[in-house]
Symmetry: C2
Subunit: 453 residues, 2 copies
């Protein structure tokens, strides 16, 4: 039997885990500094919690977990007769793997509302599962890194999210643009064009401006029965990113004016923060998702910094007004952001942005010529380890060539070869594997030596 | 709809996540110091990888994931006719959730053998899933923290495992006994009692000595056709923990003598390490699992330190000689250990061993009397955060009572109330929420102040 793993899933080798943790820890540290607290939810949720929350397509992409024991015993005769897969599901699977972190968070807030204080700021870094067709950069198991504030409509939190986006990408060394928009501005544009009630049609069409261009959007709007004149007016409005002009144009729309004012308040919170220089108003930004009701965020690579490399959005989020309503808790406003760790990983690898220090493997490997040296070396290793120095020892005396081959293979930066001479002088010769240089250090000075490199 | 989660699964609130991470990070730090490297494997494995590895009971406890799309389409007519759940499984579920970290690790080693250097030291801290009946302290989703070395039979690694067990429990502040045994000693005892070929029967019986006592073990051995005389001899031998006496008794068994010699080698590695004082030879230790072939470890609470509290084993492990054989890679020896994070959590909570510093929530919360103070406070918050100080601000000016209520609820240790006076003097009065004491600090000295408390 040749072992394999399910398509769309991945094993992570040590170097990959170190790099991924570097990303997770950078995000987590920023979340903590901003007062967000961690929660965790189980991988399996009741299907009742998940079903119907992601549209029909989402329901199909949910991984369903077979009930245990005699799972067919509750299947009614009619279902047996019809032999339809979809009809069997409610009788044979009551659990599913979480599809994102947002629905489990909403469920969590409603279930634990009496133990939480609002506004509740939570972050959550956990894997999610989707039965998407696997392809380059798309996996069936992947990690999301979400932060949300729930229970307040203060625009301060929009400002904090923008600051956190800046802090994370700044620390990772990735130059990005933080696109921002507000659904109320889009609503306002629809209103002043006289198609307020066609707001969703308009949003769906302009969301594709990036991909299909002006012509594609025009075509789609025309197909939806919106006249060419209105169409041109919409395109003109959404392609302007001058807030003063927009403000003037939207003066007769209450919704539009409110959207503009919200933007201005958010920007005023950012006055003292470098994040403001990374923010770009982008009226074409709609992010498809129906549940955003105010601010919308999206982070993309700064193409002027990386003209020859392209990648989809790295983060996205926004404000929603009724996330928990479906679980019976009405009228709670929230705002959140999500980092796509897998895409960030790919970008950092491509741009060689991971510092060497992400690896936490052993710094020093001891090799020994004979049993006496081995015993001596292990004593030194034990001492170094008690001072928290990451080090290791080849497990027995063996031919030095064989041991050196191992040292090269595990890419340890320093090696100490222990023989009779070292044991009697209590001095260790340390070889730098990168440049071949050597240095002799007394055993009592080793800890200090390794604390300084 | 009242939301719920599947029985046997848990949500973790922020305080619980902080405490659990304290345990995970303590274990991880020790693993890294000892040169173990992290790997991660996917939650879902092919059922082919998992099935048949944990006995029939284990197979029943595997969570199986329903295939996506029209999952019934490959079911043969005969299976439709029989309507047996077990017969359907191979046609409707090709994936399952991992049941432990050991089998995925074996699969990983075989799949990636060309990318790994042996001995390969890996650790893995991830959740596993079992459809066990939920009960106190037993969950359907729980975390394992494993470390294994594969590709060497050096007893140095047994010594390292014992040192790591000591380091982790010492850092957590839990007083434990590290029980150690060797399957070769058990084999030797069976041989000198003349029942070498009944070794498994003997092992199964004496493994229960803790629970059923001498009489229970005698009864079980008698039922298995072992004479009372032999039975008494076995009990006498396994209840002795004097290595010199055992050595003499086992002198005529090659296996037994080898087991003793292995123990002595391991103890000689520990000479310079405090772990040696926590080790106890326990010949009754068998750990049920068939795949151990040499050393066996188990960690239990030191009952002399906690006479009124009892808990099952907190860690367990041992040496196995053919973990990867089932996946086609023969003759590879390994040794490993696993920490039961959930039990450790319960012990630490019961004994109040979590330090206050595990919480990484905000240290300071700003409250503001009016809009001007709010704007000023947010500017200070922004500065503190840029110095990595975990802090937060109430999202808008509001009645101070309301804001203080929130401060109490989130249990923030310090509060700063900002009003006109603070804005004009640029001095912040910081209130210690534990004792009510107050201190006034100039805004320029705040960072230093919070870096020192």
């Amino acid at each position: 039997m040749k072992p394999s793993i399910p398509k769309g899933t991945r094993d992570f080798l040590p170097e990959e885990v170190f790099r991924r943790n570097f990303i997770f820890e950078t995000i987590r540290d920023v979340y903590l500094i901003y007062g967000f607290l961690p929660i965790e939810t189980p991988a399996m949720e009741n299907l009742q919690t998940l079903t119907g929350k992601y549209g029909d397509e989402g329901d199909n992409l949910l991984f369903k977990v077979l009930n245990n024991g005699d799972f067919l015993k509750n299947t009614p005769e009619e279902t047996w007769q019809n032999r339809k897969s979809a009809e069997f599901i409610p009788f044979i699977a009551k659990r599913g793997l979480r599809y994102d972190l947002t629905v489990p968070f909403a469920r969590f807030v409603v279930m634990h509302q009496n133990d939480l204080s609002f506004p509740f700021k939570r972050y959550q870094i956990q894997p999610v599962w989707r039965a998407d067709r696997p392809q380059k950069g798309r996996y069936q198991e992947f990690w999301q890194c979400d932060a949300d504030v729930i229970g307040s409509d203060s625009l301060l939190y929009e400002a904090e999210i923008i600051q956190m986006l800046y802090e994370v990408y700044h620390k990772l060394g990735i130059k990005v643009i933080i696109r921002i928009n507000n659904r109320k501005i889009l609503q306002g544009i629809a209103e002043i064009c006289g198609i307020g009630e066609r707001f969703m049609d308009m949003t769906i069409a302009i969301d594709k401006l990036d991909k299909t261009g002006r012509d594609g959007v025009s075509k789609e709007l025309l197909e939806r029965g919106i006249s060419e004149e209105i169409c041109n007016r919409i395109l003109e409005l959404v392609q302007s990113s001058d807030i003063e002009i927009l403000k003037k144009n939207l003066v007769n729309s209450q919704s539009g004016s409110q959207g503009i004012q919200e933007l201005e308040t958010i920007m005023s919170y950012l006055e003292d923060h470098p994040a403001k220089n990374w923010v770009e108003l982008d009226i074409t930004l709609a992010r498809g998702l129906n549940y955003y009701t105010g601010s919308i965020f999206e982070v993309v690579l700064d193409t002027t910094a990386y003209p020859e490399y392209s990648m989809g959005s790295l983060s996205g989020g926004g404000r929603y007004d009724d996330l928990t309503g479906v679980f019976g808790m009405q009228g709670v406003s929230g705002v959140g952001i999500s980092f796509g760790a897998d895409r960030i990983y790919d970008v950092m690898l491509h741009l060689s942005l991971f510092p060497d220090s992400v690896s936490q493997g052993p710094k020093l490997l001891f090799l020994s010529m004979d049993q006496l040296s081995h015993t001596y070396a292990f004593r030194i290793v034990t001492r170094l380890r008690s001072s928290k120095i990451h080090c290791d020892i080849y497990p027995e005396p063996a031919k030095i060539q064989k041991q050196m081959k191992y040292a090269h293979a595990i890419r340890v930066p320093f090696v100490a070869i222990i023989g009779e001479k070292e044991v009697s002088s209590q001095s260790i010769t340390i070889k730098n594997m990168a440049d071949g240089s050597q240095e002799t250090v007394h055993e009592n000075e080793l800890i200090q030596y390794f604390n300084h490199i």
